[in-house]
Assembly symmetry: D2
Amino acid sequence: MVSVGIVGGTGYTGVELLRLLAAHPEARVTVITSRAEAGRRVDDLYPNLRGHCELAFSDPASAELTACDIVFFATPHNVAMHSVPDLIAADTRVIDLSADYRIRDAQLWSQWYGEPHASPDLLSKAVYGLPELNRDAIAGAQLVACAGCYPTSIQLGFLPLLEAGVVDTVNLIASAASGVSGAGRQAKVDNLLSEVSDSFKAYGVSGHRHLPEIEQGLSAVAGESVSVTFVPHLLPMVRGIHATLYAQLTRTDVDLQGLFAERYADEPFVDVLETGTYPQTRTVRGTNRVQISVEQPQGRNTVVVMVTEDNLVKGASGQAIQAMNLMLGMPETLGLTQIGLLP
Amino acid sequence: MVSVGIVGGTGYTGVELLRLLAAHPEARVTVITSRAEAGRRVDDLYPNLRGHCELAFSDPASAELTACDIVFFATPHNVAMHSVPDLIAADTRVIDLSADYRIRDAQLWSQWYGEPHASPDLLSKAVYGLPELNRDAIAGAQLVACAGCYPTSIQLGFLPLLEAGVVDTVNLIASAASGVSGAGRQAKVDNLLSEVSDSFKAYGVSGHRHLPEIEQGLSAVAGESVSVTFVPHLLPMVRGIHATLYAQLTRTDVDLQGLFAERYADEPFVDVLETGTYPQTRTVRGTNRVQISVEQPQGRNTVVVMVTEDNLVKGASGQAIQAMNLMLGMPETLGLTQIGLLP
Amino acid sequence: MVSVGIVGGTGYTGVELLRLLAAHPEARVTVITSRAEAGRRVDDLYPNLRGHCELAFSDPASAELTACDIVFFATPHNVAMHSVPDLIAADTRVIDLSADYRIRDAQLWSQWYGEPHASPDLLSKAVYGLPELNRDAIAGAQLVACAGCYPTSIQLGFLPLLEAGVVDTVNLIASAASGVSGAGRQAKVDNLLSEVSDSFKAYGVSGHRHLPEIEQGLSAVAGESVSVTFVPHLLPMVRGIHATLYAQLTRTDVDLQGLFAERYADEPFVDVLETGTYPQTRTVRGTNRVQISVEQPQGRNTVVVMVTEDNLVKGASGQAIQAMNLMLGMPETLGLTQIGLLP
Amino acid sequence: MVSVGIVGGTGYTGVELLRLLAAHPEARVTVITSRAEAGRRVDDLYPNLRGHCELAFSDPASAELTACDIVFFATPHNVAMHSVPDLIAADTRVIDLSADYRIRDAQLWSQWYGEPHASPDLLSKAVYGLPELNRDAIAGAQLVACAGCYPTSIQLGFLPLLEAGVVDTVNLIASAASGVSGAGRQAKVDNLLSEVSDSFKAYGVSGHRHLPEIEQGLSAVAGESVSVTFVPHLLPMVRGIHATLYAQLTRTDVDLQGLFAERYADEPFVDVLETGTYPQTRTVRGTNRVQISVEQPQGRNTVVVMVTEDNLVKGASGQAIQAMNLMLGMPETLGLTQIGLLP
C-alpha cells in the first residue's frame, strides 16, 4: 500500500484526488495539508467524503510529507516551487498539478507567471506529465509536472496531425471552453454563479498562461516551432473542457479517421469516436477519459478536431494518479476506470 | 456471477443500472431490451458506456429474460404489470423500478394510474422495496416494488418521528423538489431546457401519484392513518431530490438529533448530519446515499427535516441494486460505495 | 423630471435600479456612489448599460446626494442607518432597500443584525415599503424601508388568508427558494458557480433575518401574534423567488380562489392565476409582478399558496421605484410595465 | 398604428415578437395563428404576457392575415414558402424569420433544405434582412428574409475585415455557440434539460444549414467567393450566441480596433467594445444589440473577432422588427431600446 500526501487539499483538485484515491486499491492518503483549514476534518468541508475519509487537514509546515511515498501538490501556481526542492532532496517522489515545472525555460516561465522561478534547477529534472506523449519518462521520474487542463486536450487533439506532418504549423487554432471549476475555489466576484451562469464569453484572448505550455509541447512533437492561436471561453457549468481545433491540411490524401484511430488504439484513456459522432463533455464527466472526433467539413482544406475531457480528472487529478501509477510500476488504469455520470 | 436482465433500458434508470452494475463485482447484465432501439448498441446511445458495455438492445419479446437470475423493469408505469406474471411463473426474481406494484390496494392504484391493474393478484406478493423499512422481507422476496424517488426521501425523513410517535399525524407537510431527470427521457416540450432551465415551479399540487404511496408507507409505520400534504417542485438541474418536511411536535422533550442518529446508526446508506449542517443534493450526486438533517427552528413547535438523495440512484437504480443484493444474499453495499461527484 | 441618487450602486439592486430608471419617463439618475469604484464609469462595470448611462461612480462622501429629489440606498444592511439621518434632516426623501429600517423594535433589530441601531429614532418615522399593504402611508412618507425579497412574497401570499381570518396563526409554514443573486455581489466561496450550480439546499433554517420582518408584518395584519416557520432554500439559478406557503384552515367553507382574486383585483402588480395553474419564476423574470396561486390539495384542511417574484425587481429595485412613484405622486406603474423575458 | 399579423406564434420567436411588439408604440398585433393551439388564449400558453395581450391563437387558414399591414412568419423552414405568395399577391408586406427566402439560388436552397422550393420566383424579390448590410434595400422591400441567428453574428463580425480586404478569404473560421432556444420549441429528446444541461458539444460539423447563407453574404461583401469553416456548438443555457471568428491577416499595418469602430460608428445596434474587453452573451440578453471585440493575440498574424447577440432578438424577432421599422418608414430603433437583463 502506497502512502500519499496531498499539499493544498482544500481546492477542487484536492477533493478530486481524495475521491479518486479513496477508490484506488493500492494507495492511501495519509496526510493532507491546508494552511487555512488546519485542524478541520476533511469531510466537514466536503461532506461527499463522509464515511470515506477520516483525515483532518494539517499544517503544511508538518514534516509528515517526507514520510510519504509520493506527494501531490494541488496548490495554485508559484507555491510548489518553494517546497518541492526539500522533498526531492529527501528522495520523495513528487507530482505537481500546478504550473510550476511545466515550462522548461525558466525565463519564459517567469515572463508568464510574474516572478522569478524559485527552483529553476529542477526544471530540467521535471518530466512533463502527459502519458500519451512520454509514458516512459514519467515511469522513471522523481518529479512530474502534470499537464494543464487546456493543454491536455489541445495537445492530444493536435498530436496525430503533427506527428504525421499533414498540417500547416504556422496557423493552428484552438478554440476551447471550460467549466468554471477550472478557475478553482477562490472567492472572486468573477466566478459567482450570478456572474457566469446563463452566459458565455471568451477570456485571456490576448495571452493565456497555457499558451507557452501548449506551444512547447507541440513544437517538440512537430520538430519545429509551431504557432497556436488559443482562445479560451468560460462555460456556464461546473466541469468539462471542450476543445475545437482547426488546422490547414498540407496534403489532400490523408485518412484522418484512420490516423487518429491508429495513433490512440492502445491508449486506455483516449477514445476516438466513430466518424460523424461528436464528443460531449458530459459523457466523460468524472472520468479520466478523453473523447476525440475528427472531421473535414465539406471535404475542404480545414480539418476540425473536437476533444472533451473532465478538467478536474484527465485535466488534473486523474492524470496525476495515472502518472503515479506509472511512477510506482502499478497498472496504469488502477483506480481510474470510473464511468461517466450521465445524465 | 449473477446474470441480470433489464427491461426498458433506454431511459435514465436503465443507463444508471448499467453504470452501477458495470462496477458490481458479482453481477453481469446479459440482456437489455428496448422496443424502439432493438439492435442498436447500448454505447452508441450512451457513449459514457464505451468500453464498459458490449451489449446491444434486444426486442422485449425475447425469451432471454427468463434465463436471467434477476430481471429489473426500468419501464414507465403500466408496463411491468403485463409482463411480470410470466417471469414470476418461471421462478425468475423481479425488481420493478416502476410504480406498478407499490400500492397494495388495486382499486387505489387504478384510481391514480388511470386503468385497471393487469395483475392485481401479485400486489400482495410484491414486497415494497425500501430496505430501511423492511429489509428482511426484501431478502425473502421474489418480486420487489422499488420505492418511488420522492417517497424514498419523504418516508426516510418522517420515519423516526412517526416510529417515536412524537408528531401530529394529521398535518404532515412534504415540500420537495426534484431535478428534471425524474421526468424521464421522453420527448416533451415541458422538459426542454428552454422551458425549465433558470426557473422553478411547483407542479401536481392538487394530487401527485406518489401521495398514496407515501401515505400507505407512513400509515403502516405510524399504526394509524396519516395525512400528508405533498407539494413537488421542479428544479432547473438534472439530478437530485431535496425534501423539506414539516411536522407539529406533540411533545416538548424530544431529543430530535439523538432520535435520528440512533434510528439510522446502522444504516449504510442513511447519513444523519451534525446539528446545524444541512444536506445538499450535490454531495450525494451519483451515490446511493441519503443525507438527513433535523432542526427545530427557534425552539418552537414545528420540526423541520431535510433529506437529499440522487433520484436516479437511491431514488431508483441504486436502491434496486441494494434490493438485489439483499434478495441474493450478497453484502448489501456491494457495488454501491461510490463517492459523490463534487463539485 | 425627478433627480435620483443611488448610494451603493455596484451591487445587483444598484444596477437593477439603473436598468429600470433608464426606462422611467419622469426620473433621471444624477448621482451614483461607490467607495470601491469611485471614478469608474458605470457602463464599464455593467456593459449592458452602454449607451444608456453616462454616469461614473462617485465617492459616497459627496454632498451631491442632498441635492437629489430622492435617494435610494442599495447598500448592505448596517450602512444606511449611519447616513440616512443627514438626508432626512436635509428634507431629502429616502428609500432604503436594505434592512435597516424594516423592524420597528430597535432591540429586536439589534438582536438579528448584530449591532446597536445607529438611528433608532427614525424607526418610527420609517414607513414599511409594501404598497399592497400600506399604499397611503408610503405616499406620505419621507423615509421608506422597502420590504425584503422573501418577506414580499411571503406576506403577499398569506395576506388574504390572515385578513379573512380563515387559518390558524400558530403554525404558518413558509418554504421558500431564491436564486443566488439574492446573496448579492460579494466575493464569497459559498456563492461560486462551482459551489451552488446543479445543487439545492436549505440554509438559515434555525433562524433567518427575514423572519422577524415577516412576523411583524403578518402579526399586524392578523391583529394577533403569528408564528411562522420560515425555511429558505438556494436555487441553482440567478433570479427569482418561489414561496410555497402552508396553513391550516379553521373553516371549511372558504372560497379560496375568490378570496385571493378579490383581494388583489385592483393591484397592478399582483396577478392571481386561474385555479389549477401554478406560477413559475421565469414568467415574472425582469418584471415588478408577483404571480400567485392558491390550492387546497385533495380538499383537505391544508391550504397551499404559491407565490413567484423576481427578487431583484418586486423583491427590491422595482418595489423601490413603485414606492418612489407613490411618494412623488406619479402613476404607480410608471416605468414598471416590463414583460417577463421568456424563455 | 400598424396592424401586425404573426404566423406560427407558439414558438420562441413568436412569443418574443409579442413581447417586443407590446412595447412598440406604433404597432399592434391583431392576429396570431397556430394550427395546434387555435382557440387558446396566448397568455394561457405564455403567462408572462398576462395583462399585455388579449389575443387568442387563430387558425392559419384564416383570411385575416391579408388585412394586416405587415405579416411576420415565425414558422419552421419549409412553411412560409407555401403561404407567402398569396400575401405578396395581395400587396401585404411580409417579413419571414425562417430560412425560406434567404438563399438566392433555388437549387442551393433545395440541396440544404431537402425539398424543392415552393415559390422560387420570389427568391429574387426577397431582400436579405441584415440592416447593417443593406438598409436601403430593406426599406423598399415588400418581402424581407431575415438573416439567421448564427449568420447575423458571423457576418457582422467578418464584415469590416472583408470590406477592408485585409484577410485571406480562403480559410475563414467561425467557431460559434448558441443557447438551446435556437433549436425552437419542439418536443425532442435531444433538447431536454437532462440531455443538454451541464454539458457542451459541437454539432452539424460536417455541414450546417447556415453555412451557405453565411458564404453567400460574405462573398457578396468580399467581391469574391469566400470559404468559411463553420462549427456550431450547443451551450447549456437558454439564450445567446457567441461567435469567435478567426482569419489570417494579409497585411501587417491594420488598425483593427479603428476599423471596427469606424465601420459601426453609426449603427444603433452594433456596439464595438474597447480594446481588451470582451463581449458576454448576458450583457445583450433580451436586447436587439450586438457587441463586438477584435483582438490580435500576441501580435501575430491571426485576427480574432468575438461577437455576442441574443439569438431570439437580434438573431430573430428584434431584427425582424428593425426591418419592419425600416419598411414602414419609422425610426429604426422604435420599440427596440431595451436594456440587457443583468445579472
